[in-house]
Symmetry: C2
Subunit: 436 residues, 2 copies
């Protein structure tokens, strides 16, 4: 019986999940791969955490570097997170002839090119299914199952924390701050939630997906990132009344002129499939020229789902049977030497429908002033809503535009902000029709 | 540049789609696999169909057997359909050292064991992603992405024709026969629709999915198959009123005592994800012990989606790089020598909630007679609906049970059929809660 000897870097929630899954499914994995997947070493800054976990003969230590250098390790699994020392450790592991499996989205999004080149030089594999959307096998799907497709659009709910917050805001009619506090109390959001709620985590994942879909290295800096802090209960209520839900989407589009990459709160029709993805679930929609639209749905985080993806990568390595099939599939799907960069379309050039929210004085003539600005920018209106209330200083004025460019929308909002009747900075949220 | 030389058996809608996709994506596939995927031969009973298709140097002939024997073919792609001569041709192709890619669900469901053993003896690959759910990569997902999961339940909408018919019946309030006629006129249903509407096509696919999920060869004969002919407009209306939709599902369950395999019209909650899969779309839901529930959605048929799956298999073979990685992944996921058979649970032992429809005389005492029968069978009722109309001979009486066994339900319905007030054979439809 061949074996694949595994060294684990990190023993937090995910690391423990990986260790437990490898031990629990030892027989199943042997019967499916013909290889014994054997966990031999765990390195963690807190080795005491492993006490009480039935790990058998696995060596647990605080010496992280040892796992990378040990002769009895064929593959290093990195679930520590963070850019350093993870980056240096994985580069060294590859140089020392070990395969690498990582769940580290930030690392692949920021240093994917350097790591993938190092893997090619070393003739070893660098796999990262767990880096995007947890249990959803979107990396393998894009790289292998959709290999015959030119992909022109991809979008997804890539951050479970944001989707949970937006779902709760709608269901309970609560504000962002209230729901965030509750989510933190329940452990669904971090003490410092900015990585999630400001869209950075989703942008890391989108950078990776776009690289594979469009044939480039990941370019995190090309992504336009907006989080959900500015989404108000008013927006969610009005969106519902007009037949929309608000989701934080990662969106990647490509045409002959270039790519658009963005993470943003988005109005999607309530009847679209993506609108029904609720709570902590993730989903990714992909449009290919042959397959049409396909969709992939599941849990985007947690010990079990993430471990499922990590161990699937290990099973892939096991089935590669040693070195014969190494680098069987290129890391970003397209061969390194064929990857190219794509021009990025300026936000001003984006086209679409827009949801606009103003706070205006409730007096005659305001609507005429506002719509005159829109007319000057050649923006036509699909729907407009205002409920007058004479007892407050400002009332919400909600509008949905027909298709226009973001340049026109931004110019109009700047102009509106200068109007005397407009009491707060006007906000907009982009609308996507959803292609399912 | 390495090349993979392809011989195509069959040039119907799917065959033409495969040929066109290979030619259109030649550069893309080369940049993703490092291999030139070259279509060299097409065999079809109607070679004249290829006239006008720009096939370049591809040899088109009516000599089907030649593709299997030709020295310049590395892989035979079978998209003819039917059991023979497909089976004999593919066995011979394997014996002659060629890989095989097929979209033939009936063939894999009925002769999967024989073909897979032949592939193992020959040391060649037999791939069949396109056999189940078109563009949805459910075969690869089960075999590779969920390799670390023990799967206990799987269900799916596996036949687009049935899903289209049920969707139309609900939206238009029409009968099965009316909608079927329209679907035939539009080309969404075959002239002889029995393969689809009687559930056989879905059962072929379920046999394949269950084999991979549970680690056995496909056993078509173990599947309990019911089609949608008996689903009436009344059922659809009442299901809607009670918060359900009716879908034809393929369902596979496994526990320590055995497996349940069935294709059946099923009531699912309107709020469940599966209820929102409409029209010709397919979807598969899988529950694994690590990943939890994941779902896969897309077009289950058509030239593009099916060709996308066929060419994905070809890309896999190309990436295997000749013979080094052949038989990298076992055909039914688990190694041939580790596949086992599972005892099948009798329908009488199935447990669940049931929807019951009776046609009864509209007179006093009927409800008492019917509910007495249920009480005698220890079946408790969750909901009951009857609308009296004195001007007709019989009115529908609709009931939903709490969880019970199918033995009890069948015994109760037999007894009810003997009642004087019951005017037609009582019908039942099983209810599944849907695990998303």
């Amino acid at each position: 019986m061949k074996e694949l000897r595994i060294g684990l870097l990190g023993f937090g929630v995910v690391g423990r999940g990986v260790a437990e899954l490898l031990l629990a499914q030892e027989k199943l994995l042997r019967e499916r791969t013909g290889v014994a997947l054997r966990l031999v070493r765990i390195a963690t800054r807190t080795p005491e955490r492993a006490q009480g976990v039935p790990l058998g003969a696995v060596q647990v230590s605080g010496a992280v570097h040892q796992v990378v250098t040990a002769d009895d390790v064929d593959v290093v699994v990195e679930v520590m997170g963070g850019l350093e020392p993870a980056r240096s450790l994985l580069l060294e592991a590859l140089q020392r002839g070990k395969h690498v499996v990582t769940a580290n989205k930030a690392l692949i999004a920021m240093h994917g090119e350097e790591l993938m080149r190092a893997a090619a030089v070393a003739g070893r594999d660098l796999l990262f299914e767990a880096a995007v959307a947890g249990a959803i096998p979107i990396i393998k799907v894009l790289r292998e199952s959709l290999a015959a497709n030119q992909i022109d659009q991809l979008y997804g709910i890539l951050n479970g924390t944001c989707n949970y917050i937006l779902t709760e805001m709608r269901e309970r009619g609560s504000s962002f701050d209230q729901v965030l506090q509750d989510a933190q109390a329940k452990g669904f959001a971090e003490a410092d939630p900015s990585f999630d709620v400001d869209g950075i985590d989703a942008a890391h994942k989108l950078a990776i997906l776009a690289a594979i879909a469009f044939g480039s290295f990941p370019h995190f800096s090309q992504i336009h990132v907006e989080g959900i802090r500015h989404v108000s209960a008013v927006d969610i209520t009005w969106a519902s009344e007009m037949g929309y839900r608000i989701k934080l989407l990662g969106i990647a589009k490509q045409d002959a002129e270039g790519v658009e990459l963005r993470v943003q709160p988005t109005l999607v029709p309530v009847t679209s499939m993506v609108a029904s993805v609720e709570g902590v679930f993730n989903a990714v929609f992909v449009r290919g020229d042959a397959a049409g639209t396909t969709m992939y749905y599941g849990r985007g985080a947690g010990a079990g789902p993430t471990a499922s993806a990590v161990v699937a990568d290990l099973a892939d390595l096991a089935r590669n049977g040693g070195k014969e099939a190494t680098q069987r599939v290129a890391g970003f799907s397209t061969l390194l030497e064929c990857l190219s960069s794509h021009p990025v379309r300026e936000t001003a050039e984006w086209r679409g429908e827009y949801y606009l929210r103003l706070a205006v004085a409730d007096r005659p003539g305001v609507l005429a002033e506002v719509t005159t600005v829109l007319a000057r920018q050649q923006i036509s209106i699909d729907a407009i809503h205002q409920k007058g209330r004479s007892d407050v200083a400002a009332v919400p004025l909600i509008m949905v535009t027909h298709e226009t460019t973001e340049r026109q929308v931004r110019a109009a909002l700047r102009e509106m902000e200068g109007l005397d009747a407009v009491r707060e900075t006007p906000r907009f949220i982009r609308i996507e029709p959803g292609f399912v």
